[in-house]
């Protein structure tokens, strides 16, 4: 079991990233808080050893995505999210970036993780495949189709 100090360190280090991943899947402030706690609870109870900071970060990504998916599957959870709830989380974003954010969030679920991990976190297709437990080729296809959809929505000019 991990100490309080370790938990606080992890919260400082990964809270922003977890919030962003939650935003991709949940789009709801209250749900995000629940997943947030679930992820750090798993961390405090996790007895494995992380070989490096990168290993730990990849663990947090994987656990957060799984926690979001489990949350979405919950029988008691409301399946629809009102539009106001979506704007609640993106309200603080500057207007010129709001469109990009909303377009990424409106992508079909299968593309969002790969797009975020590649374009924001800077992971390669091979690394994303290893985190998401998918084949590298599958990630290339997801990135390629996701990119096409983004270009279509954002306008093709200047986003190559």
């Amino acid at each position: 079991m991990r100490s309080e100090r370790e938990v606080n360190r992890a919260i400082e280090l990964y809270a922003d990233m977890i919030r962003r991943i939650c935003l991709l899947h949940l789009k709801n402030h209250a749900d995000t808080e629940d997943v947030f706690q679930e992820v750090f609870l798993k961390y405090i109870l996790y007895s494995g050893v992380f070989e490096s900071g990168e290993h730990e970060k990849a663990w947090f990504i994987r656990v957060t995505i799984n926690a979001c998916k489990d949350f979405m599957k919950s029988l008691f959870r409301r399946r629809t999210v009102p539009l106001e709830a979506l704007s609640e989380d993106t309200a603080s974003v500057m207007p010129e970036h709001q469109e990009v954010l909303e377009v990424v969030l409106s992508l079909p679920p299968r593309y969002k993780d790969s797009i975020y991990l590649h374009y924001y976190e800077g992971y390669t297709a091979r690394e994303i495949g290893s985190i998401l437990h998918k084949k590298e080729n599958t990630i290339y296809s997801l990135l390629s189709r996701g990119r096409e959809l983004l270009k279509k929505e954002l306008g093709g000019d200047g986003i190559e």
């Binding site: 919260i11 970036h97 954010l101 299968r110 924001y120």
Partner: protein
């Protein structure tokens, strides 16, 4: 760094966890954690008698349950040139997997699909290293389903990630076709196309078809059915789904 990458970086860079969120997480985790460590004690007091009662109940119903779970209900074949046929139980979980050629055999050595849901099993088969070698630009990936719940299975396959990414074609066959296909030592998907081909070319044999890829079989068939646009690739568009439905309809009629 590309412009798209820049835009995404800037947009997501503005999303941060609030201090309130961090505080609530730290507090929540440290408060809830001891409760998580106590369930062993609670389990002994409250749940153990209940679990024992359930175990007795289930052991009585065990044989019936086993029979229900192991009885084959549906068949799904995955054909490119590797041909593999999955047998599913009532819960759409794989109870058996058989290869219908050498490449299929290699795939089944690589991946374990028994016990998995049919969609997960299909994903593992398609993403296996051996299958990936066959999934070239011009390859045809065919899913053929024979089941009393074919619509449910086909809907799942049509919207699955691998079907969309690799442009799989989804088709339905009658349950009677399963036995005929097995007699010929062929998968459901390959047998279906072999039967159609043999209607035009009496010289074609089942043995010959086993070694020919689905793409080549489709090419040969299209020589006879030129202009018959029934093979539509599955895609995440409405029109493509319509195409699959047409394909299914045709298969059903073929085997009646």
């Amino acid at each position: 760094m590309t412009a798209l990458s820049n835009k995404i970086q800037q947009a997501f860079g503005q999303i941060h966890a609030t201090d309130q969120m961090k505080y609530a997480a730290a507090l929540g985790v440290l408060e809830r954690e001891p409760q998580r460590l106590r369930p062993a004690v609670r389990f002994r007091k409250v749940w153990r008698p209940l679990v024992l009662a359930c175990l007795l109940l289930f052991s009585g119903a065990g044989f019936g349950g086993w029979y229900l779970l192991e009885t084959p209900v549906s068949y799904v074949s995955v054909d490119v040139n590797p041909s593999i046929e999955l047998t599913l139980n009532r819960l759409n979980r794989v109870t058996g997997a058989e290869s219908r050629n050498e490449a299929g055999e290699m795939i089944l050595k690589e991946v374990q699909v028994k016990g998995r849901s049919y969609l997960e099993a299909v994903r593992l088969l398609v993403e296996s290293d051996v299958m990936q070698r066959f999934l070239t630009e011009d390859a045809d990936l065919i899913f053929t389903v024979a089941s009393p719940r074919a619509d449910e299975l086909l809907t799942g396959l049509e919207s699955s990630e691998v079907s969309i990414l690799y442009q799989g074609m989804c088709r339905q066959a009658d349950m009677e076709t399963v036995a005929s296909a097995h007699e010929c030592g062929m998968s459901l998907g390959k047998y279906t196309i072999y039967k159609r081909l043999s209607e035009y070319d009496a010289s074609v044999t089942a043995e010959e078809c086993q070694h020919i890829s689905m793409h080549q079989l489709h090419l040969r068939l299209s020589q006879y059915e030129d202009g018959n646009d029934e093979y539509h690739k599955c895609d995440d568009t409405g029109s493509a789904e319509d195409g699959c439905a047409e394909g299914r309809h045709h298969c059903q009629e073929t085997h009646r």
